[in-house]
Amino acid sequence: MAEKSKNGQSRILEAKGMTKRFEGLVAVDSLDFHIPEGAIASIIGPNGAGKTTFFNCITGFYEIDEGEILFNGSRLHGRSPDQIARAGISRTYQNIRLFSNMSAIENIMVGQEPHLKSTWIGAILGLPSTREEDEHTEDRARELLRFVGLEGKGDMLSKNLSYGDQRRLEIGRALASKPKLILLDEPTAGMNPRETIETTDFIRRLRDEIGITIVLIEHDMRVVMDISEHITVLDYGRKIAEGLPADIQTNSDVIEAYLGRGAAAATAAN
């Protein structure tokens, strides 16, 4: 059912038998997984199911113990985080991790790293190419600020921004590297209903206007069911279900994982 995504595109991310252990604890257990290109996919699961670990494995923070991860068909595991970023994957964090003493615009300029070429020697000598690149970087950063709705706040230190602005800035920073795939770790955490709806729309716009593939970890089931086209459910590091939102909603394994066995039986009886 999930072999082909709606628009029939190829798999942008694929994991085969991916396993990550921490001193005896298996955080991710031989996971097979794939994301179709251009999709909005969600990963859900109870607390401690290994969702963030999964993100950390993909972005190279953790080295996986077994299995392989492919990005556009080429190997991802064993590469360092900066190489993975340059390959076109970027992410946000569950507990916002901006460069808090840098201004908003500087945060986004750092995000553009994978595309920058100027060197320190060029900077010292003030070479025209370096200056040009710097100007271009700044222009693009302003554009992105506008895109995420932070126009005019570029010179504020990122830690002085409001919570919602910080979330948006973090997404802006992730977009700055022009990624093909973006991993969002609980993008609506701590938001009120109105902000949640705005963010949901924003995520959809990202895919529709820029065409980025999006994977998100999310706790808010309304958000998940509303925007995802593909859902993977993890529990204790294993995949217990995947498929379309409608399928997941009725899947008894999923209900059991969330609510316990009795609840699953009760739901089934209904």
């Binding site: 001193e23 064993g78 590469r79 360092s80 900066d82 190489q83 060197t119």
Partner: protein
């Protein structure tokens, strides 16, 4: 510029690997040269080893202070070497007074015990004041802030004691019963070395009992596991931290007296700096935060430092190898930090709590 990392190959890894190979090669070649030349007899090796063990037990006592504090606060108390100095430098006056009255040689064990208590309690006071004044206001700030404070405290204490007691060296008087040597299997071991080792052992066992068997020890362990939970369990965190600094200080101060018995060159205000760094090395070597680790690390470092120059450096044809004792110790420091930051008995504590 050339490219640093290709897909698999990392320049940093490569350089570190080359370093590793060079060091192993140097050690092997040096040791081989020395051993095959037979310049140093077996008895001499044993003597070096014994001297290393007693020096190492002093490092171990100081290292325990680093490890206890790190276990609880995850901070490097850089000024701990100065806590050691405070006790050692103060107790030298008591030793002189005891010597003048003749008490030191009439009741040597009691006199030394009193000196150890005196130095220990003084160092304890210094350590507690240090925590109260310099570190407590900074609790919870990023790691480098208390480290810079500790560096400041280190120099502040050094120059305070220089101002109080003067800048000259003062030697501990000799204790008669610690002179001479005993023959074990035909090898003469100086009594003072045995004394140093044994008294350090007693203190360490005392600490082990304190941490493992008493209520306050349990509280210390609880705080080092998880401060928040410990607080919820009704443990007074501030008090436990103060107590930990105090215990570390006491051990360092007593190490000061023991060190004074052992080293004839005397004490001065700068005496704590180098042993402080070495004891930190010992603590990291054993796995920082790990109490038995600090003990083992200290002994290990002492032995390496005693044997290393003669075994490796002399074997490589380096003149004046014994001058380079400290170089061996500091090289150990750097190597441990590079290759095995979690230490010999590594708990991987550093990563979990980082």
């Amino acid at each position: 510029m050339f490219k640093w990392k290709t897909d698999e190959f990392s320049w940093v890894d490569f350089t570190i690997d080359v370093l590793r190979i060079l060091i192993v090669l140097g050690v092997v070649v040096g040791a081989w040269n020395t051993l095959s030349s037979g310049r140093i007899t077996f008895a001499q090796w044993v003597n070096l080893f014994a001297a290393g063990l007693s020096q190492g037990s002093i490092y171990a006592l100081i290292a325990l202070g680093y490890t206890l504090v790190y276990g609880i606060l995850l901070m490097i108390n850089f000024a701990h070497g100065e806590v050691f100095m405070a006790g050692a430098f103060s107790a030298v006056f008591l030793a002189e007074a005891f010597n003048r009255t003749g008490f030191l040689n009439e009741q040597p064990l009691l006199a030394i015990l009193l000196m150890i208590m005196f130095a220990g309690l003084l160092s304890m006071t210094v350590a507690i004041l240090l925590e109260r004044v310099a570190y407590r206001p900074l609790r919870g700030s990023p790691r480098l802030v208390p480290l810079i404070t500790a560096i400041g405290a280190s120099f502040f204490l050094q120059y305070t004691f220089r101002g109080l007691y003067g800048s000259g060296f003062k030697a501990y008087p000799q204790v008669k019963i610690l002179q001479g040597a005993v023959s074990i299997g035909g090898i003469n071991i100086p009594i003072v070395q045995i004394f140093v080792f044994c008294s350090a052992l007693v203190l360490m066992l005392g600490l082990y009992w304190l941490v493992e068997r008493t209520r306050v020890g349990k509280a210390m362990r609880a705080v080092s596991e998880n401060k928040e939970v410990a607080r919820l369990m009704g443990i007074d965190i501030d008090w436990v931290i103060m107590f930990t600094f105090g215990v570390g200080g006491f051990l360092a101060g007593s190490a000061g007296v023991i060190n004074g018995m052992f080293r004839p060159q005397g004490v001065n205000f700068f005496m704590g700096f180098i042993p402080g760094i070495k004891a930190f090395t010992a603590a990291v070597l054993g796995g920082i935060g790990n109490i038995p680790g600090a003990m083992l690390g200290g002994l290990f470092l002492g032995v390496i430092e005693a044997i290393g120059p003669n075994l490796v450096l002399a074997g490589l044809g380096i003149p004046g190898a014994n001058q380079l004792k400290d170089v061996i110790a500091f090289t150990m420091l750097v190597l441990v930090l590079i290759f095995r930051p979690q230490g010999i008995l590594g708990e991987r504590l550093s990563e979990k709590k980082a």
